[in-house]
Amino acid sequence: MLKKFNRVLLKSNALRSVGSIIYDWRLAFEVIKRSPLTMTGLIIVVGFIVLGAIGPYIAPYNPIEIDFSSIALKRLQPPSLQHPFGTDEYGRDLFSRVLAGARVSLMVSMAVMSIAIPVGLVLGLVAGYYGGVIDEIIMRVTDVFLSFPGLVLAIAFSATLGAGLFSAMLALSIVWWPSYVRVVRAQVLVVREQLFIEAAKAMGVSTRRILFKHILPNSITPLLVLVTLDFGSVILASSALSFIGLGAQPPTPEWGRLVADGRKWFPDKWWYSFFPGLAILITVLGFNILGDGLRDILDPRFRRRLEFREVK
């Protein structure tokens, strides 16, 4: 509904007011509140982050240690009140393992993002602002990385680096930065042409200040959507790596790995694979719903409606 209003509002010129971002976060939050779907996404994401932070501490059982005395008694039990997600072949509580898995996924995606975003920002800013040969070189290299389907390249890197959580993180980071360069550069190219940049130049404002005070703050908003969506994508990709045997190794309770482990007991012990996979689905869905909602909010048509306020 919101979108529809907006579209036509735009046509009546009185309401025209162009900006490039949301400045007022309270306003953005108001809009999120109006959209129940986006709100659900936000709740899932916040919940996931909280679980990632405190998950291992609130887990009812130890997610990693094996209690050898009771393996025979406890192994591969179906879901019950005591073990809502059942137990694995070592008698560990799967609910606890899935809870602990939130931290692994959160760690991986944070690690990947903390490499990919700064690299993408710096290279994108430089390429977009300076242009010329530097731009050409950066973009050629970026293009090469983007000529591989992402997961394929991550698998290749991960395989050569050797299985393990660390090499998976590294491989995913190597794969992820190029798309950020692209997005940042594209946005910088738009912002660079804005007249306030030229006005700053005319006043003698230093290049550094122009880059960091004018271009950067106006370039990162579209990144926000991408980062939100990519948080989910990284979780999905790292779980896929773990699933095929790269990435996290036992006894790390990684969700993808858990699904793979559970497959050995499939289909009789269905819960083993089912719940970790569900955890991935819900978490990634949360990020995607939130990202999708944010995209709508940041959509120019939508934005202008928010901005419509005249000063008397």
């Binding site: 900006g19 007022d24 030229e198 130049k201 005319a202 006043m203 005249e310 000063v311």
Partner: protein
């Protein structure tokens, strides 16, 4: 016109933009191609022309926002092209610019306070003044109030934003202000307010304006001198009254006869000079005089000889074979 001191002297300025093909440069957009003129102290020089004639590029060249390929810009006897470091900053302090689009000329992430403070900060003037008092005065000069300081640009209407942009240009008390179509995105009634304000500020602060526009009405109202541009070249230059009353170049005549006049008695009785076609692309401008394919008075020589500006009367120059 009492003032005769030349503030700005532009000589043979040239800027060609390369157009890239897949592998090679396909050609050049000859945006500004050998432009010379003078601007006098405390006067307004209007640069007028249709879209694509290079007037906006010229505005940026004058302030060295882009580097020319050739030519010189002498500001108060100093060659701007040779300036660097502190001297260049000094030049930046003495000049200001206001752009056409008030929506993209203000950083949406900064409050008006931050926007107006930036030039002062850049030039290390914060110590000398009481910033709050100074900014309030600045705002009042452009017809805004104190309470507007802490708002963001998107909270203002187009006209108000343009006032803020003007305030920013005036923040460093410049001597020369370049105004690039400052009113063309505004409504008629707001435009009149803005034009009057610009005129009052000029008188009060003894400013020199270079006013880029396509609106001949504004030129007549505000400017003292006018330079008419066509496809990267100045075809006529002179005092406004003279150029409008006795236009010499065929293009100027055509322009004046094509412009709609808001007065039916004049509009319907005047003789019209018809012109064929549209301005060609500056990518491959015609040889010889660039106006000759559309010129109602074209001679056979026009396609061969490129004319330069010739002074026909005092400070009234024209570049046309008819006056050589």
């Amino acid at each position: 016109m009492s003032a005769t001191k030349v503030v700005l002297k532009v000589k043979n300025l040239r800027k060609w933009f390369p157009v890239k093909g897949v592998f090679f440069t396909k050609g050049f957009v000859k945006a500004v191609d050998g432009v010379s003129f003078e601007a006098y102290e405390e006067t307004t020089l209007a640069i007028v022309g249709e879209s694509g004639c290079g007037k906006t590029t010229l505005a940026r060249l004058i302030l060295r926002l882009i580097e020319p390929d050739e030519g010189s810009i002498i500001y108060n006897g100093v060659d701007v092209m040779k300036l660097s470091g502190k001297k260049l900053m000094e030049f930046r302090r003495k000049t200001g610019i206001v752009f056409q689009d008030p929506y993209s000329s203000l950083n949406p992430r900064m409050t008006i306070y931050e926007i107006l403070k930036e030039p002062l900060e850049t030039h290390g003037m914060l110590k000398e003044i009481d910033i709050n008092e100074y900014l309030v005065k600045l705002l009042e000069k452009v017809g805004l109030q104190k309470e507007h300081l802490y708002r963001y640009p998107h909270e203002f209407s187009g006209g108000q934003r343009q006032r803020i942009a003007i305030a920013r240009a005036l923040a460093l008390s410049p001597e020369l202000v370049v105004l690039d179509e400052p009113t063309s995105s505004l409504d008629v009634s707001v435009q009149a307010q803005m034009l009057n304000m610009l005129r009052d500020i000029q008188a009060a602060d003894k400013l020199t304006y270079i006013f880029i526009t396509h609106d001949l009405g504004i030129v007549r109202y505000l400017a003292h001198y006018v330079a008419v541009m066509y496809l990267g070249k100045i075809v006529e230059y002179g005092p406004v009254e003279e150029v409008f009353e006795k236009p010499l170049h065929p293009y100027t005549k055509v322009l004046l006869s094509a412009v709609p006049i808001p007065d039916p008695s004049i509009a319907r009785s005047r003789a019209r000079i018809k012109v064929i076609g549209e301005p060609p692309s500056p990518l491959n401008p015609p040889l010889g005089c660039r106006f000759h394919p559309r010129c109602p008075y074209a001679l056979s020589d026009c396609s061969r000889r490129e004319m330069s500006l010739v002074e026909v009367e005092k400070r009234h120059l024209v570049s046309c074979i008819l006056y050589s």
